[in-house]
Symmetry: C2
Subunit: 325 residues, 2 copies
């Protein structure tokens, strides 16, 4: 298996290398790419050293798969070159997520969608992955059409730059924000992405638009409020879904806990608990007091891992497993 | 006007002194009380020094009003002594908020309720005050019966101890939490107060129970998720209310901005913006995508001020103004 990784020097790219080892993916050839700034730097993978290159038109020739952890702009630049090479591209950017012939995949929820690809598979938004992992199990007990979500998003969502900005602000009260639109230390910012015509942000609309595609649920309606919080690397989401029937709470906890990649906890989970591992934790499942069919829950997951790198590597693993079985 | 303050050495008690000056309340006699730890310490009010006493049965005799910023337990201990003295007690604790003959007052919303007191007026929960200030104006455009709220609550909600704990954790990564049930630095904790039989916390149920009483709305249903965040002194709340009609968004913004003590901002407000002043800021009013009658908004207010001290002093001012007019 010959693999390329673009954006390997970022938080998600680095995490992808670890996830490949953890998910027991055998890599026969590895090529690692990043921006000019990182050209020539060495990275370690499975105790072997690799030199970071800057990709050009022929860099992907001969590869089977490419994992991408780059901006929308760079993803659009590289995709024609990857396509030409015949490799399958698993893209963490949002550049192609809405395209009809591009599957958008959380392996535990809709892994089979990845098989019907045209060489390009999109990795969903981080908050969307973590929220859907928490609520998709409930579909075993009934349908839902309506969700209200408020997110508590870690600074890692803006990559290593976001983590550095929070650290800089904590260490120097005169530091002026560069990455986030407001100071994030001792603050919360209900503005992630750009404002759209309906006054929601681009980040907020991903929860509805990507949720519809992943769950095969074109009528799903979601009102989301996305909020950046001074937390390093795990997202938390306060969720309310309205089911089409009254769901027994113990049954709800059981199907959530039985879902691959998810764990229900009777005690509270916090983003610190959820950090540096791949499980999405759910707690506080309880009855909505405004609607007997409604359920509230609290979920936490590592943004860099399940919200990005380990989900992308999980898509790769799903493809490889299907090929071998 | 002869005034007593109990709990004067805490964050809210200290703020009450400042708010008395800011709200131009003339105090002819002041007695300040706190715990044994603070006995004999001096505080400054209007450039005059006062010595902190520990209250006993006769400490309140001859006073007209007492402002309380103490625990439920201490409030219950002091109330019979205050009652005996004939002073009117404005209590920031939650000890008496649910009692039928105790008005629960946000002056801008239901100030007139304060006039029908039996010597005791309760100051509401901090998140409840800030949320209701943001949504009460909408009642001018229609009724609402249903609310989903997720709070982002500052550490000041646990008093000076809470602020110290966050500072200690930021300065010493080995510090073990004493005030909050989990580490709060670089974390968020969806557990404030104690768990009730319905799996909501005591803090979460205040939003519904106190909201019903303040708005004179016994049918109001609220599903609340209360979350502590590493912010020093302002609360933020992500709110969704369902109106009984479709409300024009510009009309909504106008009635919010016109409400006494509230300001609507077209740009985002953050808890840092809202700190150290008394206005409740609202922004991001937008249409609920799951229900055309629904509205989403984001509001921020200083927890120590409007969430506690300045609201309590505002009740006192309301009583004094009514007396003089």
């Amino acid at each position: 298996m010959r693999l390329g990784i673009i954006g390997v020097s970022g938080a998600v790219g680095q995490q992808m290398l670890e996830c490949l080892v953890e998910q027991d993916i055998v890599v026969d050839e590895l090529r690692v790419f990043a921006s000019e700034k990182s050209r020539g730097k060495k990275i370690l993978f499975n105790n072997q050293e690799y030199t970071i290159q800057v990709a050009d038109e022929s860099s992907f020739d001969g590869l089977d798969y490419v994992l991408g952890a780059v901006s929308n702009e760079l993803s659009k630049k590289y995709w024609p070159w990857i396509k030409k090479s015949g490799a399958i591209y698993i893209d963490n950017s949002s550049a192609f997520r809405g395209d009809k012939d591009v599957p958008l995949v959380v392996p535990e929820i809709n892994g089979e969608d990845a098989l019907d690809n045209h060489g390009l598979i999109a990795n969903p938004n981080c908050s969307t992955i973590i929220t859907l992992m928490a609520i998709a199990p409930l579909l075993k007990l009934g349908d839902f059409n309506s969700m209200i979500a408020t997110t508590f998003q870690a600074v890692s969502g803006a990559g290593n730059k976001g983590i550095e900005e929070l650290n800089n602000e904590l260490n120097n009260c005169n530091y002026q924000p560069k990455v986030f639109p407001y100071t994030i230390a001792s603050n919360v910012i209900s503005e992630i992405g750009s404002y759209l015509d309906n006054d929601y942000t681009s980040e907020e609309m991903k929860m509805m638009n990507e949720g519809r595609k992943i769950l095969h649920h074109p009528d799903l309606r979601v009102s989301c409020t996305c909020v950046r919080v001074p937390v390093m690397r795990s997202h938390s989401i306060s969720v309310r879904v309205v089911m089409d029937r009254i769901v027994d709470l113990d049954e709800g906890k059981r199907v959530i806990n039985d879902f691959d990649g998810v764990e229900y906890r009777d005690e509270l989970v916090t983003p610190l608990d959820a950090s540096n591992q791949d499980i999405v934790y759910v707690s506080r499942l309880r009855r909505d007091l405004t609607n007997p069919n409604g359920l509230l829950l609290w979920c936490c997951g590592d943004q860099i891992r399940k919200g990005a790198a380990s989900n992308a590597v999980g898509i790769l693993k799903y493809l490889l497993d299907c090929k071998h079985n």
